[in-house]
């Protein structure tokens, strides 16, 4: 279909070929039934070793103190918050695909929604790790929640960190619920397929007695729609609140009103890059090329140009208003980003986020697996550096020249970052073995002939 002039008169099949519903069951459930391949064992041993490096660094941090990291005065936030924002951003793609595209009736989402949602949950788990770790006394996280205590003290509801606690935990819970609700029919299908008694028990319990009854589907679809309706503002609110962490402050380079939409766009941008990168492997490894098609990947690349351009717009707007606003601190911060000691980070960010994604204007690159993979990686690097630039450059040179400092990350910082990737990919590797990576019931509904021809 990529050869001739595009045919606009008919909708593209979401699933390539004409697979039968039963074949879909077999394909999607295949990884669950087989003994893991050697590649899988190699992969998980790599990710587990990353995870254990991270665990070691975390253990040392708990034992010795935050001094092991590179944070200092004035740069009190470093890799910790950079990673937090990065991972939260990664998570956003999942909710966007599963909720917003659902509301927009984009049928192509069905192939990738389940996987993206799982990534959301795992990314939020990785993200949640960092705010817990970055506090000086990691054994007191409950102080950040309003629970009745003998001090009679509550939390500070005007602090963005408290908003974060609410936002991230709500996001995690709602994403998990959304994900689980989506899984119920598939679990029932697995329950009816499996021959193993143990598996059957587990699936039976978690499928909540689902029997594909239309009297249930009716409520189920309604609930799913409403959940999607809630997940959409929720996902916007989460990164908005994360952006508030910076934007409510008075620090030049942090305090700017465009942060909320800009952060959301950036989050979706990096999230799509990550989903695209991982899906390239998943469709290859599990023979899902007809379900997660090249069209899916191309559409994701298109979303990346859009969100990347939004991010570029925000960069431009920040620069313009920094000049236009005439505030000398703002002007200094932006000049300092571009020319100061962290200029390398700034230009990495600009080139990876704004310049390289422009290559996706070319259809060839949009549909070339190696090219899109490379750009996806670059985008993730760029978005990570965006958070680095925001957090570190603004803090390292703020108001008083006397208190300026330089931030140099330590091996512990790097180790924990590595560990978070280890955790993320370990969870993904486990996920692909124990649950269907593609929503069986949803894909069945969009294959050709899946819906009645007359209504």
């Amino acid at each position: 279909m990529s050869t001739a002039a595009t045919d606009y008169t008919r909708e593209f099949p979401v699933v390539e070929g004409r697979p039968k519903a039963a074949e879909l069951d077999a394909t999607i459930a295949a990884p669950l039934d087989q003994f893991p391949s050697r590649v899988w064992w190699i992969a998980i041993s790599i990710t587990l070793s990353f995870l254990s490096i991270g665990a070691f660094c975390i253990g040392m941090t708990l034992y010795e103190g935050l001094g092991l990291w590179g944070v200092n005065q004035p740069v009190s936030w470093g890799f910790d918050i950079v990673n937090f924002v990065f991972w939260i951003g990664i998570g956003h793609a999942g909710t966007l695909i599963s909720a917003i595209l659902f509301l927009l009736r984009q049928r192509w989402r069905t192939g990738i929604a389940r996987f993206a949602e799982a990534m959301t949950i795992f990314a939020v788990m990785c993200a949640g790790l960092f705010p817990l770790l970055h506090t000086g006394r990691q054994w007191l996280p409950m102080y950040l929640t309003p629970y009745p205590n003998q001090h009679g003290l509550w939390v500070n509801f005007t602090s963005p960190l408290v908003w974060d606690v609410f936002a991230v935990s709500t996001y995690f819970i709602v994403s998990a619920v959304f994900w689980y609700v989506g899984l119920i029919p598939d679990l029932a299908t697995l329950r009816d397929r499996t021959t193993s008694k143990i598996k059957k028990t587990i699936y039976s319990v978690f499928s909540l007695g689902w029997r594909h009854s239309n009297r249930h589907w009716q409520h189920y679809e309604r609930a799913y729609l409403i959940l999607a309706g809630f997940a959409t503002p929720l996902v916007l609110s989460v990164h908005t609140i994360v952006s508030f962490d910076f934007a409510v402050s008075v620090i030049p380079g942090w305090h700017t009103t465009v942060f909320p939409p800009y952060f959301v766009a950036g989050a979706v941008f990096s999230g799509f890059a990550m989903v695209q990168n991982v899906l390239i492997f998943v469709r290859q490894a599990f023979n899902l090329k007809h379900i997660i098609t090249l069209d899916h990947l191309e559409k994701m690349n298109k979303v990346m140009i859009v969100t990347g351009s939004m991010v570029g717009y925000a960069y431009a707007m920040e620069l313009f208003i920094a000049w236009y606003g005439g505030n000398q601190f703002e002007r200094f911060v932006f000049l300092n980003r571009a020319l100061g000691p962290y200029a390398w980070a700034y230009w990495t960010m600009v080139s990876c986020n704004v310049i390289f994604p422009q290559l996706f204007w070319f259809k060839k690159i949009r549909r070339s697996i190696p090219a899109m993979f490379a750009i996806g990686i670059l985008v993730n690097i760029g978005m990570w550096f965006e958070r680095f630039v925001i957090v570190v450059t603004s803090l390292s040179r703020d108001f008083l020249p006397s208190s300026w400092g330089h931030y140099t990350p330590t091996l512990y910082d790097a180790g924990i970052l590595l560990g978070s990737f280890g955790l993320f990919f370990t969870l993904i590797l486990i996920f692909v073995r124990v649950l269907p990576v593609v929503s069986i019931s949803e894909v069945k509904g969009v294959i050709e002939g899946g819906q009645p021809s007359h209504r």
């Binding site: 001094g67 200092n72 004035p74 006394r137 102080y143 020249p401 208190s403």
Partner: protein, 522 residues
């Protein structure tokens, strides 16, 4: 003044007991000897009608006695005497050896608080170094943190380089008192010993030594400073402290002509929400930049009063020094003739403190008398407050410093006895900062309550204020119209640092007036 610890004897007492013979030792031996000596020699010359005991106690109480000593009455400057101190000319580089500002000749080398006081100008801690002018450094081909070997007839030593704007060309100054090998857990092996450069004959004579040869040697040695160094000719960062009105200065002439010259561009400050009203006592501080000499006595005083931990050289290099008050030094002008400005910077106890808003656990909030207070036990250490502080005066315990420095030296007996019992000893993971010496405020308040009299702001003296030799720091109740601090706040030269952040600081600075007109320095 402390009583003997463990089984120790005062050295004077030891000497006396040797003189007076066996079994003559008792703890008060020296005390009695001293009193007897004063009664015999000094007391009669005073010719007072009181008895000796009264004289003795009042001398102890005041700390000084005024002796009737008159010089020869000739106070003219004797230029010719210089010749005996400074030789007419020098060959090669000149090395000037000076006593350390803080650890003296090395006697106080084992005092971490002093080792960690930043040098008033260079802001270097925990080290001595060869201070060179920019041109000399260029001539020698060295840069900051390079090492040079200084050779004099009597010895040679390798010293790290520090480029000091304003230093005379060809002159290398180095502090003495460092490089001790056996000074205790803190003071051993700090810096380099430059005593080796002193000629034996000069131990009491001139310490300005000519004829040195200097050569760059391989390797670097990183000096720790509490303030970053910015090139004076980089237009990007040059004179930022003046552009940002952090330090405000004027000339005497300007002030005489127009006393209100600072405030012509009046900035209107208002809040989008209703502001909190403070009735009753409200604490405030004023710092007169004209009086401040940048000596760091306030820093030392604060350290002692508030149990400020010592963090060590490496941690200072990482930017983790813990001092609650710091003296910021800014240069303006050129590298050859820089103008330095000092500014004590401490928590400004802002009325609309940006740090408070963002603390998720309300560990920092405002007291009814206007203090920005820090609740250590509630603090979980998100460090958000520090990020959002425009003045960056908050300090975070990245480690348990007392345990971390010199193998727990500061936690051991009897060193821990020196900590102020009225002030919490902070552990790792909590944020801390200047409290305006709240323990002293509470003490005065208790006394006022006990006596049933109203609390008077001027009765409270903060530790930095106490320590300041120039009385540059004034503290008190700004709501008391007669108080000194209220007068300072209304002063024509008074200003607040970073007013535009609308934080409403309670520390007022008085702009520095330079008398450059008469010296024609511009």
């Amino acid at each position: 003044m402390i009583a003997p610890l463990y089984d120790t004897r005062q050295k004077e007492a030891v000497l006396l007991s040797w003189i007076q013979g066996k079994d003559s030792y008792k703890e008060t031996i020296y005390h009695e000897y001293l009193m007897a000596h004063w009664e015999k020699t000094l007391f009669p010359s005073f010719n007072t009608r009181t008895e000796f005991k009264t004289f003795w106690y009042s001398a102890l109480h005041d700390g000084v006695i005024t002796l009737d000593e008159r010089g020869n009455g000739d106070y003219r400057f004797k230029g010719e005497a210089l010749a005996s101190v400074v030789p007419a000319s020098f060959q090669g580089y000149v090395v000037g050896l000076t006593q350390s500002y803080y650890i003296g000749d090395g006697a106080f080398a084992n005092n971490g608080w002093l080792q960690e006081l930043p040098h008033p100008i260079s802001k270097v801690v925990w080290d001595n170094y060869a201070s060179l002018s920019t041109k000399t450094a260029k001539d020698l081909g060295v840069d900051m943190n390079d090492r040079i070997e200084i050779t004099l007839p009597q010895g040679k030593q390798i010293v790290p380089v520090f480029i000091q704007p304003g230093q005379a060309d060809g002159y290398i100054s180095i502090e003495l008192g460092y490089g001790r090998t056996n000074a205790g857990p803190i003071g051993s092996d700090v810096g380099v010993d430059v005593n080796v450069l002193l000629p034996k004959s000069s131990l009491t004579g001139s310490r300005i030594l000519g004829g040195a040869t200097v050569a760059k040697v391989a390797g670097t040695y990183v000096l720790s400073t509490t303030q970053e160094h910015h090139s004076l000719d980089d237009t990007f960062v040059k004179d930022l402290h003046l552009k940002r009105e952090v330090v405000r200065e004027g000339t005497l002439l300007q002030y005489e002509k127009d006393p209100n010259f600072l405030h012509h561009e009046k900035r209107e400050l208002f809040s989008i929400h209703t502001e909190v009203e403070y009735k009753g006592v409200k604490w405030a501080m004023a710092i007169d930049l004209n009086k401040c000499i940048g000596c760091n006595a306030c820093v030392a005083g604060c350290n002692v009063e508030n149990n400020v931990p010592v963090v060590g050289k490496e941690q200072v290099a990482k930017g983790r020094e813990m001092q609650w008050i710091r003296i910021d030094r800014y240069y303006s002008g050129t590298a050859d003739a820089p103008v330095a400005s000092h500014q004590p910077m401490l928590c400004q106890h802002c009325d609309q403190a940006p740090c408070e808003n963002v603390c998720p656990v309300v560990a920092t909030n405002h007291s009814p008398d206007g203090l920005n207070q820090m609740v250590y036990n509630r603090c979980v250490g998100t460090k958000y407050c520090s990020n959002n502080c425009p003045y960056k005066v908050r300090r975070f315990n990245f480690f348990n410093w007392r345990d971390h420095v010199a193998e727990g030296y500061y936690e051991q007996e009897p060193v821990n006895l020196m900590h102020n019992p009225e002030v919490t000893v902070r552990s790792r993971g909590v944020m801390e900062k200047c409290t305006f010496c709240v323990q002293r405020i509470m003490e005065v308040r208790e006394r006022a309550v006990e006596q049933g009299i109203p609390l008077k702001g001027s009765d409270v003296k903060t530790a930095c204020q106490d320590a300041c030799p120039a009385t540059a720091i004034v503290f008190g109740d700004m709501n008391d119209p007669d108080s000194e601090v209220a007068a300072y706040r209304k002063h024509n030269l008074g200003y607040h640092v970073l007013e535009e952040t609308n934080a409403r600081p309670n520390v007022t600075y008085l702009a520095k007036l330079r008398n450059i007109h008469s010296e024609n320095l511009t």
